[in-house]
Symmetry: C2
DNA sequence: ATGAAAGCGCTAACAC
DNA sequence: GTGTTAGCGCTTTCAT
C-alpha cells in the first residue's frame, strides 16, 4: 500500500522480503526458482508469500527485465467456429503449459483488421504472435520485421513464411478431392462456398480442385460463392441456387463440411440421393458426420496437432532453440458414401 | 536501443520527444489525447512517431501509472463451442472497442483450473475479469475479494454474484420446457446429458425440468449423463442407451441442441419418428436447425447480447459508472415439431 | 500549454 | 547463497 497513487494489488516483493528478513533479490530468486537457495530461506519466503497473499506483478517483472512479456498474441478469423475454436484451444493449452498467456484477436479475413490488432498487441511487447490470416498488409509485414518478433503463421501452409509456418496444404486438399470425385465418374461438378469478407483458404482448395478438373480437361460447370459466413444455411441455399441454375450438376465441392451438410439436407429435402443424384464433398471433418446416416466424403484435418505444433514452434523460437520453419499438418481424404 | 539489456521494441517516448524538440510529457500527452496541445506540437510529435515507427510500451505505461492494465481476463469452459465461441467473440469485440485486450483461459468446468488461471492472470493486474464457471473455489473468491477487482460472472444467472452477473436463467429454461413437453402429452420422459468434468449448467436446466415434472407428480423415468463432452455422438449414444434400457420412453430432454440432434439422428436411424414416437427437446438454438427437415423444439439463447452486456457492464464498473448488478439475458422456447 | 523531478516493482549485473 | 546498485519507460504531481 506504499505510495499515494491509486494502485491495487496488495503487497510487494519488498514487503515479502522484509517480512522474511531477506533482500528483494533473494525473495525474487525464490519465487522464480532461479539458482540455488537454502531450503530454509525458501520456506521463510514462501511462508510470507502465503501469509501476505502476495501476487507477483508481471507488469513490473516484464518491465524490469527486458521489456519482453510472457504474453502471446493470437489472431484468428473468428472464435465461433469448431475448426478455429479447436486450434485456439490447443494453442492456448500448450502456451499455458509453457507459462505464456494468450491474448486473442479476430480479423474476419480482413488484413487491415489484422494489422490494427497487431499494432495494439505489440504495445504489450509480446514474446511472439500467431497469425492466421493468409494475406497480410504491407504494414503488418513491416512492423513484424522491424520488431523482429517471433511469428507463426498458422492454418495455411506458407512456403515463404515471415518466420514460421504451420498449416494445411489447402491446394493439395482440393486437388486430391478433385481427383477423387472425378474417379467416381462425376461429370458436371459445381463449387459452393461463402465468403463474408475477403477470401479465406476455401479459395485455395477451390483452385486445387479446379486444377484437378483442368488435368482432365474440365472446369467447374458453375461456382456459387455467397456473401455470407460458411454455415449450414449458406450450404443449403447455395445448393438450391446451383441446382436450379444448372440441373445437370451431378456433384458439388463445398467450402467446408458445414456447408456440405447444409447441401446434403437440401438434397434430401428434394428427394435427391447423395452420390447417386448429386455427389457431395466437403472439407474439415465435422463432428456431426458421426451421426448422419450418410458418411460424408470429406477431408479430415488435425486441428489439435496444428495448434500444438504452432505453439511449440513459437516457444522454441522464443527460446532460441532450433525450429522447423515449415510444418505441414496432416489432412486425410476420407471417402464416405456421398460422392 | 539504449542500455545494455537485451530489450526489443525500437524507439522510446524519450527519443520521439527529443526528435520533436519537446519534453517527454508533452509527447506523452499528445499520444494519449489528454488536455490541450497546440496543433503544431501535436503534428510535430506525430510526425516523429511515424518516422521512428514508435510503438508505445503499454507495459511501461501500466507500470508507470497505477499498476492497473487495460487487460481483461476471460475464462470459459472451452473455446471449441458454438455457444461459448459466440459469447467470446462478442465479449472480445466489445472490449476491443473500449480499448481493452482480452486474455483467455479455459477451465473445462473445473473450479480448480479456474483458480489456477485466475492466479496467473491477476499477476498482469487486469482491469477486470469475466468468469463463466458457476462454482468457484474458496480460493478464487478470497483472491477476488482481496484484490477488489471488477468481476462479471457470465453464462448462468447468479442471484448473489461476487460483483456482477449476466446470465441465462437455466432453471427457468428447464422448467418452461418441462411444462411444454408435458403439455404435449408425453408421459415417460428421460434426460440425456454429458459432463466430462464437473457438472455445468445443464445440471440446472435438468433440475428445472424435473421441478416441472414434479409439479405434475412425475419424475424422469431415467437419466443418462455420460462422462463425455456434449456433442453429437454423445447424444446419439445416450439416446440408444436410454431407449434400450426403457422402451416406453416417449420423450427426451437433452443437455443441449448438439446432443438433441444426435438423438434425433439415432431415432431416424431406428425408424422412430420425432414427436410421434419420441419427443425431442434441446437447448441453445444451434444453426444446424435451419437445415434439418424437422424443426427442433429448443430454447434459443442470445449469446451475442450476453457477451456484449457482460463486457459493457465490466467496462462500466471499471470506470466507476453505475451498473446493474444482475442482468438476465433473453432465452425463448421455440416450439418445433420434434415434441 | 509545457516542463522537471520523482517513482512505480521488479530484475540484471556484479560484488561479496 | 545472498546483498547492493542501478535502471527499465512511462505517468503522476507540481511548478511555470
Amino acid at each position: 500500500m506504499a505510495g499515494s497513487r491509486g494502485k491495487r494489488g496488495g503487497s510487494t516483493l519488498a514487503e515479502v522480503a522484509n517480512a522474511a528478513g531477506v533482500s528483494k533479490m533473494t525473495a525474487s530468486r525464490v519465487l522464480r526458482n532461479t539458482s540455488g537457495s537454502t531450503e530454509e530461506t525458501r520456506d521463510r519466503v514462501m511462508r510470507e508469500v502465503r501469509r501476505l497473499g502476495y501476487v507477483p506483478n508481471r507488469i513490473a517483472a516484464a518491465f524490469g527485465s527486458d521489456q519482453i512479456s510472457t504474453l502471446v498474441g493470437v489472431c484468428v478469423p473468428r472464435l465461433k467456429s469448431d475448426l478455429f475454436g479447436s486450434v485456439l484451444d490447443s494453442i492456448n493449452q500448450t502456451l499455458s503449459n509453457f507459462g505464456y498467456q494468450t491474448m486473442i484477436g479476430t480479423h474476419e479475413q480482413s488484413p487491415e483488421a489484422e494489422e490494427a490488432w497487431l499494432r495494439a498487441i505489440l504495445a504489450w511487447r509480446p514474446a511472439g504472435v500467431i497469425l492466421s490470416g493468409h494475406t497480410h498488409t504491407r504494414g503488418t509485414i513491416e512492423i513484424l520485421r522491424a520488431q523482429s518478433i517471433p511469428v507463426v503463421e498458422v492454418w495455411n501452409l506458407n512456403t515463404s513464411p515471415l518466420d514460421i509456418s504451420v498449416g494445411f496444404n489447402h491446394f493439395d486438399c482440393g486437388h486430391e478431392m478433385g481427383r477423387f470425385v472425378l474417379s467416381k465418374g462425376h461429370q458436371n461438378i459445381a463449387y459452393v462456398g461463402a465468403e463474408a469478407g475477403a477470401a479465406g483458404m476455401g479459395k485455395v482448395r477451390q483452385e486445387g480442385f479446379k486444377a484437378a478438373l483442368s488435368d482432365s480437361g474440365k472446369d467447374f460447370v458453375t461456382e456459387e460463392v455467397l456473401v455470407d459466413r460458411p454455415n449450414f444455411y449458406a450450404g443449403f441455399y447455395g445448393t438450391e441456387n446451383v441446382l436450379n441454375r444448372i440441373s445437370k450438376v451431378d456433384a458439388i465441392y463445398y467450402q467446408d463440411d458445414t456447408m456440405a451438410v447444409g447441401g446434403l439436407f437440401y438434397c434430401k429435402s428434394k428427394g435427391l440421393k447423395a452420390a447417386g443424384d448429386v455427389g457431395i464433398a466437403g472439407w474439415g471433418g465435422m463432428e456431426i458426420a458421426s451421426v448422419l446416416p450418410e458418411r460424408l466424403t470429406t477431408t479430415t484435418v488435425t486441428t489439435q496437432a496444428l495448434g500444438k505444433t504452432a505453439a511449440e514452434s513459437l516457444v522454441a523460437r522464443i527460446r532460441g532453440e532450433p525450429v522447423q520453419d515449415i510444418t505441414v499438418a496432416a489432412t486425410r481424404l476420407v471417402p464416405g458414401n456421398t460422392v
